[in-house]
Symmetry: C3
Subunit: 268 residues, 3 copies
Amino acid sequence: MSDAVEVVDLRAARTALREHAPLVHCLTNTVVQTLTANALLAVGAAPAMVDAPQEAGDFAAIASAVLVNVGTVNARTAEAMRLAARSAGAAGTPWVLDPVAVGGLAYRTALAGELVALAPAVVRGNPSEIMALTGAGSGGRGVDSTAGADDAASAAAGLAGRTGGVVAVSGEVDLITDGARTVRVGGGSPLLTRTTGAGCALGALVAAYVAATRDPLTGAVAAHAHVALAAERAAATAAGPGTFAAAWLDALDAVGPDDLAGADVRSA
Amino acid sequence: MSDAVEVVDLRAARTALREHAPLVHCLTNTVVQTLTANALLAVGAAPAMVDAPQEAGDFAAIASAVLVNVGTVNARTAEAMRLAARSAGAAGTPWVLDPVAVGGLAYRTALAGELVALAPAVVRGNPSEIMALTGAGSGGRGVDSTAGADDAASAAAGLAGRTGGVVAVSGEVDLITDGARTVRVGGGSPLLTRTTGAGCALGALVAAYVAATRDPLTGAVAAHAHVALAAERAAATAAGPGTFAAAWLDALDAVGPDDLAGADVRSA
Amino acid sequence: MSDAVEVVDLRAARTALREHAPLVHCLTNTVVQTLTANALLAVGAAPAMVDAPQEAGDFAAIASAVLVNVGTVNARTAEAMRLAARSAGAAGTPWVLDPVAVGGLAYRTALAGELVALAPAVVRGNPSEIMALTGAGSGGRGVDSTAGADDAASAAAGLAGRTGGVVAVSGEVDLITDGARTVRVGGGSPLLTRTTGAGCALGALVAAYVAATRDPLTGAVAAHAHVALAAERAAATAAGPGTFAAAWLDALDAVGPDDLAGADVRSA
């Protein structure tokens, strides 16, 4: 099923996540905090949402991984994000940047530029956000994106070159690259895009997997494959977008190492 | 079924919402952001919750509609609300005010007074909130209301006269007026009042429908009818208030133009 | 079933909660606000989340009970918490402190110390948090806890002595004490610990039950028993952690006075 086994060992990644139960420090937007925490709990990780400047730096240093998502950023949380990213960097803790709606809004676009310079292990976004981070494209109309992941392939590779890490672009087929190697993850369900916070929760799962596997490319691919596989299962039982969200959490929990090893993952 | 067809074309409203997929900028309380975003996605609109003063004015200018809900307002978000309302006004973008718990608390009551003066296309609240905005009544004991919608009929008409827009009062039967015409929407389910944020999500759907139909009265009526109809369907399958919320989102998605045309809507 | 009937009358407590429908003012973390509000609505209480310093003191004075949960505390909400706790104290309104992740983080640990000195009617936490409040233990690794409730028994008794109130320690078996009497509550489900905010919602239900019963020990025990019983029922029908959350809310609603009287509650 997966010809990317040479690049990433999905079975081992799932096992490692369950064994290590990484503590993921999430500085994320208030719309998606609940789903993000529940998604982390569902896969076997531990969430903690600490976003005060007085605490964010200290907590990032003791967490297994950090997520920085600028969805509802303001002056206070922006400062907490800077402190957490610096602290994670100093402690050697991997952190993930999710540049929600960057490109369309000057304030967060400037902040995301600062954060990119602090070398996130993974940047995860939709095509317009990734292109906006590299100065390409004109941004989307906010949080959605009309471009496909491959439209952002060169922007992603360029951005990975700048951060020294991995860049993951979400789309019908996700594209994940460290600049040298590129992996594509298929599957999923359109209902994911009709569930607020599914993409943001994916960013948190990337952080959890990177902490568990100690490899940004493996972690990013495993998280995307896990989310897509769980979405397919949930879509098979859901009556609509409301029941889908709960079924997706159930499926995130249920997907085991053997399941994940059969995900639609292709190296190129 | 509906004798209000001369006033509002519900079938056309539902079709327009699906076609235009309006981007609704929500400055709303943190308790209900998730349900609000999911309700917007369920009906076919696009949500974005941008509530920093640095961004709210810019974003309101590019959104299709804006929702301002003062449920958990603080100094920062109050400033963002003022900027968004002014920017929406300048751009000709329709915006909706939800004066949660106004009347009982001085800080938000003063803010709501400022916002009313900025001419929202629709004000949506429960009877005690609408009466409080006009100086009538003594406010509720917070977010609930013991009065019926018709108790606020004259306050609603007076408020519509001041804003030049529409006022919608929620109750067992909702009352919606532009000062000259009044429409009542029946149906719904008591489970709506046991789901936190259902009323707040309704405010966001009003914004979406007003953007799609370009008419505040039509938009407000269509949103109330859509919410009520979906609640009836969800109540028929739910085992309690927890499963109701997910079933309601499923039903919001499923209600189509022909369904909405059969809603319990009466002009008077 | 329950030999603690001499200490607490669970049947009367459930009846009182439904009759009084207490208004619970929640200053709580943004991750769990929605579930907390829905849990309060499910049991028959009324939630209101007012967390601006401009409003928190006024609102605490008119609420039936107040919950202070420091999960995502920041400078603004810390000030609101101080004002609410002082106002509740002055008004004779019972309030509950949930010291989330206290011990591991200096800022919130200092704040929790201030709040403890304001005499909460009930402190509810996991064993590491309760131990941290008394200077025992080294704190957990954030929000979880590896110790059992009985490990914190002497810390709980000591803390109850300092506040003059009740201390509730969550665990596989919960331990609740006013320093003189100790009650243990069994039952529940491991799925509670995989649902973000279940423990935080429990804190809000403690506040609701204390308001309804006018007795901190009775209120704390009834809330823990109610949550545990509902969790058992929900676990019997849920397919995983996602569907569990909705089923738990359904069960919180369904548990009546006779059900609660049969909960696993033991005085010691």
